[in-house]
Every structure is written in C-alpha cells, then in structure tokens.
Symmetry: C2
Subunit: 395 residues, 2 copies
C-alpha cells in the first residue's frame, strides 16, 4: 500500500516516542524527557529540534530553577497540524477538519446518495475537503492524514470496501488511491461502526480498555475495543453482530420454524415488518423511531423486545470479552430508553456475575459529528503512535 508505506516506524528519526510522551499535554523540560525516556541528551536534543522544526511541539512557559537561566519547557501543539475526516452514510455525508487532539475545527454536512458510486461521492468529499482547508487558511502541507468512514464492510489494510450491501459500485474500489489524487497523505478507511466505536472510546471512555459499541439502526453492528485497541480481526470483519444466528426460542414471538440472524429480528426494518404484521404502517428505521417518539405502544413494546434479543447476544459477548462498558448507539437507541432497557434486562440476567458486577451499559453520546470525530481519531492514533507513526519529516 503506497499510502501506508510512509506510516513507517519513526525509529530512524526517533521522534515518535517523544511525541507520544508529550501528547498527554504536560509541558516538560529536555532533562525531564531524558529521564523518562532514558534517551541521551544529544538524542533528546536532536529529536526535540526535529519536532520543533515540524511545528508539532513548541516552548511552553518556564520551569522552576534554582538559579541562572530557567530551563525551557516543551509542549505538544495539537493545532500545529490537521486531519481531514470524511463520514459517509447511506443518504448524507459529513466532511470535517480537526486538530491533532481530534477537536473539530470546521465541518460541512450534505445530502448524498452513496449508491451514486465512489467516483461521484469521493469527488464531492475531496472538493469539500479542499474548500474547508482553504476556508481555514491551512495549506495542504498542514494535513497529516485523511480518515474515512463508510456504511459497509472494509478491508482496513487496503482501504477497500468488501461486498458492501448498500454501496453499489464500491466493491473493492481503491478509496485511498482516489483521495490521494487530491491529498498526498496517508488515507485510512474503516466501516462506520468501528469509526463510531473509536470516537466514543477516545472521547467518552478513554480509560476503558475493554469496550463494546453496538449500533442498532438499519443494520446491527459492533466495534470491539479489547486491551485498549480496536480489534478488527484477521480479515477486518470483527464486530459483525448482525449476522449472529439467533435460534428460535420459547420466549420469542416468532414461529418455531422461523430461524434468523439478529439483524432479521432486531434491526429497524425488522421491527417495521413486525409493526406491519400488526397493521401499523412502518417501513424503515426512521418510521420506527417516529412511532416510538409518538408513544405508539406496539412500537415501544417491539423496540424493547428487540433490545432483549440484542441483549441475549451481548450476554455471550460479555462472557467472552468481559468488557467494562457496552455503549448502545444508532437511530433506534436514540428514539428512547426502550432499547437499552431491553438490552440491560437480558445481559444482567444471563451473563456471569463476575463479568457484570462492574459493567456499565450506556446510551451512546454520539451526535451527528461523532463519525468524523472517530475518523479523525483513527488517523491521529495511527500517525502519532510510537510503534507505527508516520514519518512526519517526510519520505
């Protein structure tokens, strides 16, 4: 992958370790950096000078000293560089620029049809991105990377969608190559659920090493954070809760020969189908959400039942991974408390006590910019991490 070949180890220039250290925001003297990293004075000096020349760190006040000239403190400057974040949904897209702390600087949301295909959609995203850079007065050289979220499965290592059901024309399309025609920086792509999980983890639960984010909307998917890192699995398909097979069971309202996957039982369209069986006009997640907000009793009961079915699958996930937090997001969760109430009911009943005693099951704090925040976090983590930081000094 061309665009990731520059995401090489910084061991040659060695700036990654110091940058990683300073990302906590605490200003430090060169001596303090020496002490913490064990690097020699000359090494620290050379690396800090490189970071200063790149504009990533800068002087930050004076340290106390017993006399003479006080030693200068160095601090991370998150606004020194920017990230372009693109969040593509089925019917709308958001493009944003953020600083290196993931703070949103500017963003634009537009209606779009993902089925218009990758050329048209990415052309719009690239043009919008360029306009945001210009409006912010930031030259292209300030950009460290582009992060993209799409509404379907992605092979993260190559940035190509893989058989995405609602994205005709996108299968195996080289998204990074297309965007690098406009932006000559690393481009990282992932599915929307992983992006939301990254954003939620980084912004709301930074200290939770084990977190599962579940999105319930037109589809059902999960983002799995274990050991502090998003887990994508061997082919990048980890988190596919929607296709977990849910056998018929005696508590179910289904017919006993009606054997489905979780998405077929508990997604927005599945709930709409159950409402139609009851003579209520509903065809989509949006219709279900509208009925719930109107207080429709059938809709409220069916959303709660969907929560129970999702909770039964999550109970197994809790036994398997012992997360400290489950975050429930997506349009159906935002319609009210019914979904999460159903989830809690089954998870707390069915999981082992040791795994649930400190488990929080919470509503997502996501809003409409959560996707771009997550996409930016994905880029920042890759670019600024010690182990595989992009050589910011260039090739």
């Amino acid at each position: 992958m061309v665009e990731l070949s520059r995401l090489a180890s910084t061991r040659g220039s060695g700036v990654g370790e110091i940058l990683h250290l300073l990302r906590d925001g605490v200003p430090r003297t060169r001596s303090e950096i020496m002490e913490i990293t064990g690097l020699s004075r000359s090494t620290v000096s050379a690396r800090v000078d490189t970071l200063i020349s790149l504009g990533l760190v800068g002087p930050a006040g004076e340290a106390a000293s017993s006399g003479g000239r006080p030693p200068a403190r160095i601090a991370f400057l998150p606004s020194s560089r920017i990230v372009l974040a693109i969040d593509l949904g089925a019917t709308h897209g958001t493009v944003a620029i953020t600083d290196l702390a993931g703070t949103l600087l500017d963003h634009t949301t537009s209606q779009l049809d993902i089925a218009a295909g990758p050329e048209a959609v990415l052309e719009w995203a690239a043009t919008t991105g360029r306009q945001l850079l210009e409006a912010g007065g930031r030259p292209a050289t300030d950009l460290v990377g582009v992060g993209v979220g799409v509404p379907g499965p992605v092979e993260h290592s190559t940035g190509r969608p893989v058989n995405p059901p609602i994205m005709p024309g996108w299968d195996r399309f080289d998204v990074p190559a297309r965007l690098r025609r406009t932006f000559d920086v690393p481009v990282l792509v992932d599915n929307d659920v992983n992006i939301l999980a990254l954003g939620e983890h980084a912004t709301a639960w930074p200290d939770a090493d084990d977190l599962v984010f579940v999105k319930v909307s037109t589809g059902i998917g999960a983002g799995v954070v274990a050991g502090g890192a998003l887990q994508r699995g061997a082919q990048g398909s980890a988190g596919d809760l929607g296709h977990v097979h849910v056998p018929w069971h005696p508590d179910s309202t289904r017919a006993s020969d009606d054997d489905r996957d979780l998405e077929g039982i508990a997604s927005g369209p599945a709930i709409a189908a159950l409402l139609r069986e009851r003579g209520i006009d509903a065809h989509s997640s949006a219709d279900v959400v509208a009925l719930v907000r109107q207080g429709n009793r059938e809709a409220l009961a069916l959303v709660r039942e969907a929560g129970r079915e999702i909770g039964a699958v999550l109970a197994s996930v809790v036994n398997l991974l012992n997360p400290s937090v489950i975050v429930v997001g997506g349009s159906i969760s935002r319609a009210g408390e019914q979904l999460i109430a159903g989830v809690r009911e089954t998870v707390y009943r069915r999981s082992i006590p040791l795994a649930t005693q400190h488990l929080s099951i919470v509503q997502s704090r996501s809003n409409e910019t959560a996707g771009v925040t997550g996409a930016a976090i994905m880029v920042i983590q890759a670019v600024l991490s010690t182990s595989d930081a992009w050589d910011l000094a260039g090739p």
Copy 2:
C-alpha cells in the same frame, strides 16, 4: 502488588528495548542496534554492557568488515536465566524449569488433590521447584519469575483465585505471596485455559494475531488472543464460554423447557449424563473418553453433537472477533475427531463467509507439558517485554 512492583518499566536502565530487539535470535553489532533503535552510541554501549553483565546477552561470532578489527556481534542468550512454571490441575500437578525461550529444561509431574488447599499444594510446588533448581545446578539468582496455572478463575492482576468451583480453600488466597516466601521474584498466576492459549499461540501459531483456544473437558472455557495479545477483560473473566446461555432449539435432543448453559450441554460430565439416560455407565470426562476410544456408537454420536453445540456458540465468536485460528483442546477433543468435526460443521455453516474463508479450526497440539510451557511463556512475555519489563538489574 509487591511482586509486580519490580515489573516496572526499564526506561530508567533502558535495557528492555534492546533485549526485546535481540529476542528474535539474530546477532547484531552495536552499530546495527544504534541504527535500528535510534539510540546514541553511548546509550547503546551502556545498555549492552548492562545486559552482558547480567548474562542475558553475549558475544556471537564476528561481523564481516572491510578491514581492521571486525566489530563484535551481540546475541540473546536464552539459557542465561530460567523460569519456574507450575501447572496445577484437579488431580495432578506439573512443575518445570524452562529457559528464556520457553524451552523445557526439566519437569516433574505428581498426583495431587487441588482440594487439599493452597498451603499443602503450594508447599509441594515450592519444594519441587527448589529441587529442580538444585538438580539443574541453577542458583536462585538465575530465576526471573514464577508462572502458575490453576484450574479456576483468577484475578490476574493480584494472582488470587476468585470463587473457584473445584478449589475449596483457594478463594482469594494470595498465591504470589505464598510462593515468594520461597522465590524472591515476580509470580504471575492465571487460569489453566489462558495458560494453554498462551502456550499454543506462542509455540504453534506465533504469527496468528487473532486466535481462540477452546478447552472441552470437565468444564468448557476459552482463551482469547486478539491483536496479538491474550485478552483477559476488565475483571479477568474473559473467555468464559462455558456459561454462555444456550436456549433450547428445535434441532436439540433436549426437552423444550430444558434451558442450559454450554457447560451443561457439551462438557464431559454433561455427555456422561446423556449416556446414563441411554443406560450406559458413565460419570466423568474420563469415562466419555474411554467409551469414545472403544468406539461406542452412542458416545461417538453424543460427542459429535456436543461439538455442534460448541460450534454454534463459536460461530458467534467468529462473527464477533474474526479470528484466523480456532484451536480445540481438552480431554474430550483428544479422544478423537468427533468433537472437532461437530465444531467445524456448525461454525462453517453459521458464520459469515468473509470471516470463515481463511479460518482454520484445528486440534490442539497440547500434551501434558503444554500447561507449564504456557505458564513459562506468560512470565517471559511479562519480564522481557519492552513496555513493562522487569528491571533485571534488581531493585
């Protein structure tokens, strides 16, 4: 935790990074180490000297040179130090010493009763360990750590068993403190399944970043490797497949009001109970294994059915984590091909194609020393890792 306080960062002495580099077995010159790590000549020199004085690395042949005195190469010496590994089962225990590559140097297996309690069992383990050290002519100062596997849940961060069902008297017992009365080194404790997963991963599948090890015997448990690391979860209870709730389903031979967890359906004792219902005398995993080996048709069919039930739970795990390898171990798996055949049948039918196209489902290569190998690997990974290596230079 006293015994983990010495597992501090080596950043002060800084030997961890160089040791981690040299663990691949490739001999390198000081210049090569400088180039790879970005450390200065004086820093590399000081750290290599520290490692040589500790006996962890040593000279290893000469590098090619264009003239003059050839530069000396330095290599990791895995036999310089040793690990004590203790694998405790319900009815037997194994104590071993290994080198820093996890190679078994000597071991002793004895019958024991875990229910005799921690004082008696750990006294035996400590005495046996001391005898192995003496027999091998290794002073106590050669020991870098002790690894212990026990047949029940453990809070890994403190080394204490938590409500272990078959270990009366062990609940919350401070295993590390007891062993440190004999061995003044870090003591790490985990449950037997995690230990086996670590050993299987390190020895048979070192390149698989995502692996699930399942043990099927008196109980059913899993060890989850994701992103290259064993995942223990927030309270250390990750991998509890045995208590995953399995609703009755129409394919099942159970009565429809018979709602159980996986252990109640597919473990050795559960299969023995089903055999008794068919008038066959069986009471334990060992009885089931014996019947399978005799070719008993009922036993063969029931073990295959148990494999299918385990496979149905693993299908969800595959969708969630997208592992590249599932390893099936434990006594029931070693009785023949029936169990793994049943597992494969359901996993390949029920998981999503993207997650199964490159998935291997294999028999464990574990033998009776797999437990001590895994316990040694646990210690070696903790002690020699860059990020939290034990300061081998002592406090």
